[in-house]
Symmetry: C3
Subunit: 442 residues, 3 copies
């Protein structure tokens, strides 16, 4: 576009010979463009919703850490999203969709001159058999970034910035796309195991969860979290309003996450399916939140807001593997079980002295496994064996490679800040900048 439109408001308000104008140059698209426009625009809308989840994770995590570590948590979140954007572009996207032949040259090709070309075919000659490559890339990129967001929450308040970022580079550039190709790149989990994972309870959420679990085990708990006599110190989050905002943001973004995974919006059937996915996604979150509220009321006599937030998120993760086939009732139940998992898994992890600052392992790993195994309940095309085997294979790969990488990083540069720095807070020690510098801490 070399200039914007000319019609002034005043002109539009006069009586115009509309029919004549309309005959001069109307905006009738060629029929074969219509479904392409629908699907591509759907990817852009659902893609910006998934982008928005990056803000949701940032607010959730910043709200759940102690105020002395907030700046660092924000830094990690904006940096991990940016790194994911670059790594998925440079390596991950081609690694994930190897096409007919999964050759190393195809992968390395991404580093070559081809990356200096515009994304996808030029507007003048799009491939009309699917969405525009740019819209697909934009949408898929956001999923890759989500994986990395999950890890940062678990390992908060003690991991150094740079090893975390190096891990993020490998996770988003290699670990995530390689295992994602097994399912979404038409790899062996898809073809040999009949694995079904609509929007990624396993492919996205459990992957983040496994990487986080490996990190938590190797990194160890925060100083003072577990006492020698077996007590657990709660370390309450510093800003529950922002944690709640983060949860609402994630809930909203999840409509894009699950809805966009329909991948097509070119027919009435596809939009009817996307609509059902939106409704099911919402009700699963509601079920998870209410279950966590009721269970914490029953167990602890007081409903626990952070459990309710994580319950909603666990409901969302649970429905992600199959958001289309369940009825509203089944979707609610699937989400409710997700919410219950969180309530029991959080103290269970504490018993194992696995310190997960924001509860990402219960939410993304455990509810992710539950959601994946629940697919056969409503979708007869899935088998429990295929789901279980795929969960195990993905888990072994991600946990193994992540653990190896965490150990390597620990050996080479150290993973953990010094005890003094941890007690002082990462913000002062590592960044020299506080998130709330004017407010007196108690």
């Amino acid at each position: 576009m070399t200039f914007k439109k000319l019609t002034p408001l005043a002109l539009a308000l006069t009586v115009l010979p509309v029919a004549v104008l309309a005959q001069e140059a109307d905006l009738t698209p060629p029929p074969q463009d219509v479904g392409f426009i629908f699907t591509s625009f759907m990817f852009l809308v659902t893609g910006f919703l998934v982008f928005w989840m990056a803000a949701g994770f940032s607010m959730l995590e910043a709200g759940l850490v102690r105020s002395k570590n907030v700046t660092m948590q924000l830094m990690k979140n904006i940096a991990l999203f940016s790194l994911a954007a670059l790594m998925y572009y440079l390596v991950g996207y081609n690694l994930m969709y190897p096409g007919d032949a999964w050759t190393i040259s195809n992968v390395l090709g991404a580093f070559g001159t081809a990356t200096m070309e515009p994304v996808g075919l030029a507007g003048a000659e799009p491939d009309l058999t699917y969405a525009s490559v740019g819209s697909d890339f934009f949408f898929q990129l956001m999923f890759c970034a989500t994986t990395a967001s999950i890890v940062s929450g678990t390992l908060a308040e003690r991991i150094k910035l740079w090893p975390f970022l190096i891990f993020t580079v490998v996770l988003t550039g290699f670990i995530y796309p390689i295992q994602a190709s097994w399912k979404w790149g038409a790899g062996f989990l898809d073809t040999n195991f009949g694995f079904l994972d609509f929007a990624g309870s396993t492919v996205v959420h459990s992957v983040g969860g496994w990487a986080a679990l490996a990190g938590a085990l190797i990194l160890g708990p925060r100083i003072g979290k577990y006492t020698k006599d077996g007590r657990v110190n709660p370390f309450p989050g510093s800003n529950l309003t922002l944690a709640t905002l983060g949860t609402f943001i994630l809930w909203m973004g999840w409509f894009g996450f699950n809805g966009g995974s329909q991948l097509y919006m070119d027919t009435a059937g596809n939009i009817a399916d996307i609509s059902r996915i939106f409704a099911n996604t919402n009700t699963a979150a509601a079920g998870g939140a209410l279950t966590a509220m009721l269970l914490t009321q029953l167990l602890y006599k007081k409903p626990d807001l952070t459990m309710v937030l994580n319950g909603a998120l666990a409901g969302l993760v649970s429905i992600t593997a199959e958001p289309l086939m369940p009825s509203l009732g089944s979707a609610t139940l699937i989400g409710m079980i997700g919410g219950a998992i969180v309530v029991f898994a959080v103290p269970f992890l504490d018993k194992l002295r696995i310190d997960d600052v924001v509860g990402a392992i219960p939410v993304h790993l455990m509810a992710g496994i539950w959601g994946t195994l629940a697919v056969p309940i409503t979708n007869p095309e899935a088998t429990l064996f295929g789901q279980l085997a795929s969960v195990a294979i993905v888990g072994a790969f991600v946990f193994g490679t992540s653990a190896a990488l965490w150990l390597l990083l620990r050996a080479v540069m150290g993973l953990r800040v010094s005890a003094d720095d941890e007690i002082a807070g990462l913000d002062k020690a590592e960044l020299g900048m506080e998130a709330y510098p004017e407010f007196a801490n108690t």
Copy 2:
């Protein structure tokens, strides 16, 4: 979908025989699907915008209560949305749209096995005469949830959690959908009174306002709000940044609230109307905000931010009954009067010793009535009598049933926390969890 797309970036960057590919399988939708896709997708987009309003209410209310009650306010907001989601699905949706025959069996049917079926017809066989049922359900659900959000703000800082939630169950499952059916379910207000309420100044906003007013009268004011010698203690909000964020979120969500209520996006005429609704909604909010700023400057010599925020919201409520017909100028004026109502109604309520913590009654009830009565000014199809009668009938029904329910709840389980708990704050007393635990309160 069993797997995601295959075309790698590198492939897309090579010179492809595009025309050949395009001939193989293009995405041309059947012509009769196009309007269905447009309308359904419009409902999903406007629906997630209205969902977003739940976050807006949460932030607005969390920002306007004192910090000792913030966690409770967040808990109420996420719980009420979740309850609304379930109740509207289990009962409300069918109650609101009874179809040809409004029979109790039709209503009870919703409790039956049918609710275990997927929402709407399967993607393969959608009903092409309107939007997909799933998208319509998703959109309408969000309106129901909005009603409950309004109540929580007024009654903050003193009402117990569980009676509030039980009220929410009845409001979202029964009170809201029954009266909504009188208008939007083609009931007697629609057919006999010619009542016009495009997006719900009365059907949604005043309903929340009446329920809140009944609650405020029965619950009584907060301790210390009104002194014996007639003074009013201001109790300033604890976080005006988040209150402002909440207002912007609500403003954004309102584009979906009013725009989606056009209900169709299948023709140039409908999208032109939706566009005008977006523009009018925006300018009414701007008018309300500026009016509140100017009036508080004139009356108090200092513009009052919380009045400006509520002024914007009152402008939005005012234009909701008729966002299509007014010109930009008329829409601005309608919003300005809404903003003025807030400035005068807030101290008026205080004079009556009705304690409305966030100003929801002036914003949603009073500006809602104003907006409803203003419809005949720009829409000749409406009559002042029809509008007035409908406001009165809806008001009597909602206020009456709400008051009865509040009184019942007070008798059975008590509505109000103890004076000690209220002074200590609901967060510590009822939840044992503070929203900002590290920050010293003054």
Copy 3:
């Protein structure tokens, strides 16, 4: 619409003679409406994203000022958006798109009775050669408001409310639309200089930046910012979580800002272009953020979060002049240079003792100039001379008129609060209302 849909959920769940229904009344739009609906809906979606940037600026600025000035900063932001909405409607839109003849009557016409007409043609008779007037107006309005948001950040913590708002009136009603008409209204920069500025690195962002620079020079720095012995006091932001949230909001909104500037979504080519713009916009932001992180690590041994946030924003501003033509690689590089500009420009401005509270001049003015000059690198239709000349002409006009207006306002009513009020904070002194009244300041 006089009533909402009737089909109850239960009805939809029964076996319906779908084919019969579909024949009765389907939603097939006339073919000539389809592109009109696509483009108009695209403007509404990208428009609400750009609206959302108003919230982003509010959070960014509220997070970067000291807590004693937060309420004022929120007041300015909501007021400036509202004023922009009114002024652009009353004057700016017609001034910006003068149509065939740029006559004063055409401009004044906007004040006349015509403004009492609904926006654009009625839904029944839209002009099908472009988007609906309402959607175009809604979208363009948001750009105008953005310009004003930029100014408020630079001049925070010392400027009085009312002169700032009067400046906003002139900026949004006259200065912005006049210069915008030179390019987007098909004026002389477009026709004579071949100036290319896709979404407004110069037309929007540098305009805000020049106005802010003129204000900063005339207003002078905050008390205590620069000491006599040449030191710079940092004055850290009071809430980095909200500043980060603001950055994410702006990042999200920018997809609409740049994507919507394609202006058409009626063909596969256009949506393919919009998709590339989304992907390029995202990667430029990521490049800017990472560059700022790496550079501050190298220069100061500690990465600086506020620099990272501004680096992302500078990346976004940099790609705004030409978000379509670059490859992902080039877009990343363009954004990276933007991020580098911020890191070096912030201390450079401090050396000049130009006090820019939030870094808006480096981000919007300097990166805006960079982005504009970078267009010829990827778009052969642009010339370096045409770009340079246009930057200079726009800059001279905006800086000159802004400086004149600031000086006039200073002479007539004073621009700056008293030293006592500045030290006490604008919230107490000018508004009598604190943003965080319960939290003890250190």
